[in-house]
């Protein structure tokens, strides 16, 4: 991102450099002000997370004795170990990934096909279809939940995909609803992306006698790799972070995604907040890792959707 900024920054510097020195010194002073402002805001912003981390490293006994706002006592990872045990971390991480990975792959596959067809071949309902998808993706999920819940209780599903013969209480059902909802955003972004590629690419393939499938598979899909990578990062976080579908369309406790499993750590009468802090951080860790490792992709994904370029 810094690389992108550089050229424009250069242009501004050249421009202001030509002005009087007063302006330059004024600029410098206001820059210090800006940094102070930003540091204050960022310190405020990071504080809740820093506090969570600090609390999670201290045993409950120490904070009870010394008070929460204090320094001293022991610092260790015991809370993390206990939280991982208490919330069945590995089981629920598995539950989450068994939904997130297939949902992400399927949604990107379907969306790329739709986007390819819509952007490369014109037919009458082209635009109307994209509109429908966009509108559907913007609907609040709660609007569909009541009939969807009933549908899931009524729709049959065969053995390997379902252990009770229904869509309800199955990973398959959760994957399906994620795919349905996320299709809107992904096809929109990919359709925009495909339109920017020169149309000669597909025409040449067509002239060479390649089938539509071949054109999609061997010409456009490889070119879409950057967009797909950006969307995958974004979709991973969004689906991983889901809480709503998990609590409504699943019943068996051992199938709950990690975000819902966090609830197991807060007791009915007494909650150990040091333990809860560790649990919340453990649940957030995968998304934080993805974010820090793939920040560029992450921002690119949003940018693809919100600006044309």
């Amino acid at each position: 991102m810094t690389d992108d900024v550089a050229p424009t920054a250069l242009a501004t510097d050249v421009l202001t450099g030509g002005r009087t020195t007063e302006v330059v010194s004024g600029k410098r002073r206001s820059k210090t002000g800006t940094h102070v402002f930003l540091i204050v805001i960022c310190a405020t912003w990071i504080f809740p997370l820093a506090w969570t981390l600090y609390t999670s490293l201290r045993p409950f006994g120490d904070t009870a004795k010394l008070g929460y706002v204090s320094i001293g006592g022991t610092y260790n990872f015991d809370n993390f170990v206990n939280a991982a045990k208490g919330m069945d971390l590995w089981l629920h991480l598995f539950d989450t990934l068994i939904v997130v990975v297939p949902a992400m792959v399927i949604v990107l596959f379907l969306a790329s096909m739709l986007a390819f067809a819509v952007s490369r071949y014109s037919f009458r309902f082209n635009l109307a279809l994209l509109m429908l998808f966009t509108a559907g993706n913007l609907l609040p999920q709660q609007i569909v939940i009541t009939p969807l819940f009933r549908m899931y209780l009524a729709l049959p599903l065969f053995q390997p995909l379902s252990d009770n013969g229904l869509w309800y209480d199955q990973f398959f059902g959760i994957i399906a609803i994620h795919v349905a909802f996320q299709l809107g955003f992904c096809s929109f972004v990919l359709a925009n992306y495909f339109r920017q590629l020169p149309k000669e690419l597909t025409e040449a393939a067509l002239m060479d006698g390649a089938s539509v499938w071949r054109t999609y598979r061997s010409v456009l899909l490889p070119l879409a790799r950057p967009a797909l990578a950006a969307l995958a990062t974004l979709e991973f976080t969004w689906i991983y972070n889901d809480f709503f579908w998990g609590i409504l369309l699943l019943r068996t406790g051992s199938k709950f995604p990690i975000t819902s499993a966090l609830n197991n750590l807060s007791g009915q009468f007494f909650t150990n907040y040091n333990l809860l802090a560790a649990g919340a951080l453990l649940a957030a860790l995968p998304t934080l890792i993805v974010y820090f490792a793939l920040q560029k992709q992450f921002v690119a994904g949003l940018t693809l959707g919100s600006t044309k370029g």
Partner: protein, 334 residues
């Protein structure tokens, strides 16, 4: 994006070209282009469009339509569809006149929207404008502001419980530490941030805004980067200061992204659910329309028809911004 909310409401750019290839190719070429395709190719295209469309319509639009139909019926979900009784507008009458949590929920949703619209979103935009000025370390600042956005709202809810808990939370313990008065953390005299009506809504809104600001910041920053710098230079040469440049030049040019930000903000505040639900299941001052739908569905009585009526109210409210957005998109096509 998502929603935030479950998933953040994703950002969409209004101006996209329709018809793809046909944007450059005149309509007459359409037939020729299609005639090149074999029957198998046409089938492929049909499936490429048909399968995603089927999944999307079956799981989103049919249930949405179902909510509308069920809202005119009384059904507790037990027994088959033949047990559904038509009761006309009765659910809506009860909703408006009898059901007590309804109006508070509407108010809370509106307040949520107001806070997002007038505080969180402008703050996010401000941060974007500040960070756009080629500042050293801008990436670090951006990462910090954006970090809450990658957390799930459920985790956000838990993180803020560590701030608000009366006995163990940071706020009260800090007040005790500053004043030396143990009453700040003693049950009974301690402020119960989550348990007190009014206070809890403010507390949750702070937490939700904490996340919303970063989201808007990233969206707007992307928009600002796309503004042609020669516009700013021209304004500077004409003697405009940075405030004038932003409000008179940059802001109007960013009309499309402003629409995105506006729609994202509205939909996010209508979708608000998770953070309230993990805090106290949306009771005692934290009622929202989205929560009432779920309570009626999962409640002992499972009032499917009644819950659907609330869903329709939410649908009607969200259709406004969605149609506005689609209209803007359509208009920029032609």
């Amino acid at each position: 994006m998502t929603v935030a909310s479950p998933q953040p409401v994703p950002p969409y750019a209004p101006p996209f070209d329709s018809g793809g290839a046909s944007a450059t190719a005149p309509g007459r070429r359409r037939g020729r282009r299609f005639s090149v395709l074999t029957r198998r190719d046409r089938l492929t295209i049909g499936l490429m469009v048909g399968i995603p469309a089927f999944v999307h319509i079956m799981l989103i639009w049919i249930p949405a339509l179902g909510s509308v139909i069920l809202s005119f019926t009384s059904w507790n979900g037990i027994g088959g569809l033949d047990k559904i009784k038509w009761i006309g507008l009765k659910n809506y009458e009860n909703l408006i006149n009898v059901y007590q949590p309804f109006w508070p929920a509407v108010q809370h949703n509106l307040l949520w929207l107001a806070v997002f619209l007038f505080i969180a979103t402008p703050l996010g935009m401000l941060m974007a404008v500040v960070l756009d000025q080629n500042i050293r370390g801008t990436r670090i600042y951006q990462s910090v502001l954006y970090m809450p956005v990658v957390l799930s709202l459920a985790v956000v809810g838990f993180v803020w419980q560590l701030m608000y808990s009366p006995g163990q939370g940071f706020l009260n313990n800090f007040l005790e530490w500053v004043t030396g008065d143990p009453r700040w953390v003693t049950p009974g005299t301690a402020i119960d941030w989550i348990g007190t009506k009014g206070l809890n809504l403010a507390a949750v809104l702070v937490a939700a805004s904490w996340r919303h600001v970063g989201y808007i910041m990233v969206l707007y920053l992307a928009g600002l980067k796309s503004v042609d710098n020669s516009l700013r230079e021209a304004a500077a040469i004409d003697g405009a200061n940075s405030r004038q440049t932003f409000f008179r030049v940059v802001f109007p040019v960013l009309a499309p992204i402003n629409v995105v930000v506006l729609v994202v903000t509205i939909i996010e505040s209508l979708r608000a659910f998770d953070i309230v639900y993990v805090t106290n299941k949306g009771l005692n001052g934290l009622e929202l329309l989205s929560v009432l739908i779920v309570t009626n569905l999962l409640g002992e009585a499972s009032l499917v028809g009644f819950g659907s009526a609330i869903a329709v109210v939410l649908l009607l409210i969200s259709i406004g911004p969605i149609v506005f957005y689609l209209y803007r998109t359509m208009r920029s096509q032609t």
